[in-house]
Symmetry: C2
Subunit: 436 residues, 2 copies
C-alpha cells in the first residue's frame, strides 16, 4: 500500500472528544437527566437539520449569518443553532399530543458558523429545560430549584443563582415614563460592567432622551445592595413593579422553606442580559470560585414561545446549562481525574490457554456491578500492567497455574503496588472493599 494518505484532521472550530473528557461529559449529561426527570421533565429530541425558514423565522441577522445553511436538492435547509427555536416549532406542531403544562428537557449538540475563538466551538452541547403553558410563579420557583439541584448533583457547592424580574424594570421605566424606550435603556444599562456610571447616564440622555435624573434613577437598580423592601417603596403604587416584587418574594420565601442555603440565591436587579427577550423572572448562575467564566446556567420567563408557528399563546419558563463551559470550569478547578477507563479492574492474561477462566471471572464480577476489562493478548505481564497504569485502572487480577491450582486470584493494587491472594469465593467482597 503506497497510496498517498489523507491527513486525519477535524474542521476548524470542531473537535474530537477523547475518553478522558467524554467520560466526564457523559457523567454530566446523565446527572442532568436524573435531576430533570426527578422534577417530571421528559426528554424530547428534534432533527439536527430543519427547513431554513423555520430556523431563520425568529433569528436576528446575526444568528442567520451564523447558521450552517445549504441546499439539499431543492430544499433550503440548516443545522439548528440552538434548542429554543426547535422547541417552539416542536410545541406548535405537537401541542395536541403533548398538552400543557408541557415540561421537557433536551440535551443535544447545536452548530454555529461563527468565527471560532479560544474556548468557543462551532459545535457544542446544550442542556435546556422548560415548562410551557403556565403563567404560574410555581414554575418559576421550580426552575430555580432545578438549577440549584443540578449544580449540587454535578458536584458544586459554592455557587449563586442570581434572580431578577423584568416586571421590576418595567415598573421603574413606566414610573419614569420611559417604558417605550426600554430597549435603548437596557442597551445602555448592559454597558455598566464595561464603562462608568457617568457614561451610561450620558448614553441614556443622548440615545434614549431621558433626563439625567431619570437616568440616575434607572441606575439605582444596578446597586447590588438594593433590597426588595427598598424596591417596594420605590415602586409604591406601580402594580407591574409590585407584581414582580411579589413573585420574587414568593421565590425567596419558598427557597428558605424547602432548605436552599441562602448564600446560593441572590437578588440582582442589574441583570439586563436577555431582558429584551424575557418578560418575567430571569436567572443567571455563577461559580463562586470561578466567576470569570460567566453564567453557567441562565434562563427566564417568556410570554409567548411559538408565536411564529401557532396562534396559541404559549407562556413558559426555562433555563439552559452550558455543558461545555461547565466542563471547562471543572478542568480549571481540577475537578477532573486522569482516569481514561470506565472499568476499575483489569484481568490480565497470564496464560492464553485459560482465556475462558479469565472471561468467566470477569463476568462474575460484572454481575456484582464491578466494571472489568480483560486484557486481549497474553503479552508479558509487565506490558499488561503498564497498560493498566497508563489507563488508570485501580486493581489488576493475575492468575497462572499456581493460582488456579489453589483456587485463588492475585489481586494487585496498582497505586500501592501491594498484591494479595484471595480465594475465588471471597473475590467480589475483597475487590469491593478495595474500590471503596
Amino acid at each position: 500500500m503506497s497510496h498517498s494518505l489523507i491527513t486525519p484532521r477535524t474542521l476548524q472550530g470542531f473537535r474530537d472528544h477523547l475518553p478522558q473528557t467524554m467520560l466526564v461529559r457523559e457523567r454530566l449529561m446523565e446527572t442532568a437527566r436524573g435531576v430533570f426527570r426527578s422534577y417530571g421533565f421528559s426528554p424530547i429530541d428534534t432533527p439536527a437539520l430543519e427547513y431554513a425558514e423555520i430556523l431563520t423565522g425568529k433569528g436576528s441577522e446575526e444568528t442567520d449569518r451564523q447558521m450552517f445553511r445549504f441546499k439539499h436538492g431543492d430544499r433550503d435547509v440548516a443545522m439548528r443553532f440552538d434548542l429554543t427555536v426547535p422547541l417552539a416549532r416542536f410545541t406548535a406542531q405537537h401541542l395536541a399530543v403533548v398538552g400543557t403544562p408541557f415540561k421537557r428537557y433536551h440535551i443535544a449538540p447545536v452548530w454555529r458558523g461563527e468565527r471560532p475563538q479560544r474556548g468557543r466551538y462551532r459545535e457544542f452541547v446544550q442542556c435546556d429545560f422548560d415548562t410551557i403553558g403556565t403563567e404560574s410563579n410555581a414554575a418559576d420557583i421550580e426552575t430555580m430549584l432545578v438549577i440549584h439541584d443540578l449544580l449540587v448533583a454535578l458536584g458544586f457547592e459554592r455557587f449563586t443563582i442570581r434572580v431578577n424580574n423584568r416586571l421590576i424594570l418595567n415598573g421603574v421605566l413606566s414610573q419614569l415614563g420611559l417604558l417605550d424606550q426600554s430597549v435603548g435603556v437596557l442597551r445602555a444599562l448592559d454597558k455598566l460592567a464595561k464603562t462608568s456610571v457617568d457614561e451610561v447616564v450620558a448614553e441614556m440622555v443622548k440615545q434614549v432622551g431621558a433626563t439625567e435624573a431619570q437616568a440616575r434613577q434607572v441606575l439605582e437598580l444596578a446597586n447590588p445592595q438594593i433590597t426588595l423592601d427598598q424596591l417596594q417603596t420605590m415602586l409604591a403604587g406601580n402594580e407591574t413593579g409590585q407584581q414582580g416584587i411579589r413573585n420574587l418574594r414568593e421565590l425567596f420565601r419558598t427557597a428558605e422553606l424547602v432548605g436552599i442555603p441562602s448564600e446560593r440565591l441572590a437578588l440582582d436587579v442589574s441583570i439586563a442580559r436577555g431582558l429584551d427577550y424575557y418578560t418575567g423572572t430571569i436567572y443567571e448562575t455563577f461559580l463562586t470560585d470561578l466567576p470569570t467564566i460567566g453564567s453557567i446556567c441562565s434562563g427566564g420567563r417568556y410570554d409567548n414561545l411559538a408565536g411564529l408557528y401557532t396562534r396559541e399563546r404559549l407562556p413558559g419558563v426555562g433555563a439552559s446549562l452550558g455543558l461545555d463551559r461547565l466542563l471547562g470550569a471543572m478542568e480549571v478547578l481540577n475537578l477532573l481525574g486522569p482516569v481514561t477507563t470506565p472499568a476499575p479492574v483489569l484481568v490480565t492474561q497470564f496464560d492464553a490457554e485459560r482465556l475462558g477462566e479469565y472471561m468467566r471471572i470477569a463476568r462474575t464480577l460484572r454481575a456484582s456491578g464491578i466494571n472489568v476489562e480483560v486484557y486481549p493478548d497474553a503479552k508479558k505481564l509487565g506490558k499488561q500492567l503498564q497498560y493498566a497504569d497508563r489507563k488508570g485502572f485501580r486493581l489488576a487480577l493475575i492468575a497462572g497455574s499456581d493460582e488456579f491450582g489453589k483456587g485463588v486470584w492475585q489481586v494487585k493494587n496498582l497505586s500501592s503496588g501491594e498484591a494479595t491472594l484471595v480465594a475465588e469465593t471471597d473475590l467480589v467482597t475483597a475487590i469491593q472493599s478495595q474500590l471503596v
Copy 2:
C-alpha cells in the same frame, strides 16, 4: 399579532422524538453505555461535520451520493453517514494519545440523504463498539459476549447471535482455486436468500468462471446444518480454513464455559453480508420473535481500520447496534408502555398559599430517590387529576387545610382510585411500597 404563520414541520425523512419514545430511547442508550463500560469500553465523540475528503475517502459511489455534503466558506464539508469512517480518522489522528488496545464506544446520530422509505429515516442513532490494535481472538470472543449482555440488559431473552469466520470461506475458495474471484463468489452467494440454488450456481459459473462442481461445493457452506467438525474435514490441510475453525471453536467453548445459553449462539457459515469488508469473525443477531426485521446487531473483524489516514496497521473487531431498528421491534413486540412522564408521583396544588409545603414534600421524596412533579397551577383538582391520568402518573398527593391540620397527606392511587391518609413521617415508605 396578525402576521402570517410559518407552518411547523420537519424535513422529509426526519422526525421529532416525543417523550414516550424518547424515554425509551434514553433508557436503551443508558443500558448500552452501562454494558459497554462494564467491559472497559470508553466513550468518544467526533464532530457531526467533517471534511468531505475524509468521509468520501473510503466511500463507495453509493455512500457518496447519500451524504449531506455542502460548501461552508471555501471548505467542502459533509455530515457523517456512519461512525466507522470517523473512528478510522480519529484513531489515526489520536493514536499516540489513546494507545492500543483501544476500546471505544460511540453512540451518536448519523445522516444519510437516501430516499426515505417506510421505517427508514435520514437521521438515526448508531451504537458502535470496537476493540482496535489487537489480533487476539479474545477480542472477537468478547465482542460476542458484549452483544449477548447488551440484548439481555435491553430486556430480550429470545435471540440468536449467528457467527461465521471469513477464513473458512477463504479456505474453501483457496482449495477450489477461486480465491481471486472471492468478491464475485460472495456477490452470487449473497443472492441465495432471494433466488434458487441453481441460479446462484449458474451465476457463479457465468460471472466468476467457476465450474458447476466448484460452485456447488461453495454452496455447501450455505447449509444451515453444517458443523465445525464437517468443515474441519472439508478443509483438511488448508491452514487458513483451519485457523478460522480454531477461532470459532474457542469462541463456542468459551461461551459455554462462561454460561451463555447455547440457543443464543449459532454457527452460520452462510453469512456473506459484509464479507468483502470483514476479514475474520462475523456477527449477526436476530430476535427469535421477530426475525423479519433482520439483524439488529452486526459486526466483525477487520485487518486494517485506518489505512487511508495512517501507515500504522490497525486490526480490530467490533459491532454496531441498530438502536432505532430495535426500538421499532420493541414497539411491534409491545414492550413499550404508555407512560410519558419520568416521574411516578404528582403533587397536586390544592391551595396556592401552600406552594412551599408542596415543594418541600416533593424535595423530601426526591431525596429518597422518588421522582416527583408538582402541578404548577392551583386549578380545580379534577383538572389536575385528569392531567395525571393522561400522563401516566401512578400516585397523586393531595393536601388542604384538613390534611395540614392533621400532619397527613392523601395518597391517591391513580389506577385503583383508592385514597389513603398517610402521616408525613411515613410518607416515603408508604409511597415506595405502592410503587414497587
